[in-house]
Amino acid sequence: MRYVKWGFWLTLATLVFAFLHYTLPQTDIVRIVGSENRRVDIGENSLFWSRSEVGMTNTTSRDVFFINAVYPNGKTMEYRNEDTGWGWPPYFKINSFGLQTQAKEFASTEAAPIWVAVRHYGWRNQFFTIFPNAVSIKRVAGPDVTLIPWINIIILTALAVVLFMMRRIWLQFRERTIDPALDGVAETWDSVDARADAARDRAKGVFGRLGAWFASWRSKPRR
């Protein structure tokens, strides 16, 4: 049973972590090498793709902007560039066309590199053909700059405050509403118990028992 309990909490923690890791913004420092526009037919992996641009008809077969990039260590990365619109995750991104123009502007060669910080959410996974969605591109001084993830710090702090408040609200509700109600139930039960005891006391002895039996035919005293 202990293993089941631990397994449950471990699974829950993994799911929460994965959800936050997917949804919260991350920043990569990369060199953009190109951008393209490619038709995709979204299938089983539709969960990891966004919707059509705001105002357009939503289909699972459409053209999607891609941004190709290279990390300072030479590894490659591909981002999709899709509107999130008004849905989840709440980035409210409606400028995928503008972002694509920016990506084209920042494209550079290895000889004359332009380093940019690409903020994105999502994962790159070759097994499902899914791509992180780029949400902003900013030029940085070089490949070694340190960026402090203020947005993540603020969001996670706010989330911790919300969880703490939910606990406080629940405890207050239990103390002021549930416990008094349960006390009321306990008092009612006690009085039922007391009446049963009194009836048993009256029913002592043969005649007492006979009397109690007759008494049980009479209507109950009105309260």
Partner: protein, 89 residues
Amino acid sequence: MIIGWIRLAIVGYVVLTAIYFIMKIYLRSVARERLEKEFDAGGLGGDRSAYVEAGMARYDKGLKKNLLWLIYIIPTVLVVVTVYVMNFQ
């Protein structure tokens, strides 16, 4: 999806209204508990429930209760700021 933001606004404000009422009940409950404990600590004359009700009337007019409207204001401002920063900067 051109009306997507209307849907977001409706769903968002329904959720915020639920949060508003939960927080309202919670903060009132905390205020009442504080008043009851103040009275039970002793040193105050008069009727207990009258003292608590007077305190609650003061609470209902106070700044703290009116700050509850921030539950609507802060998310609205956050969304507007996010839309601006994400797309028009």
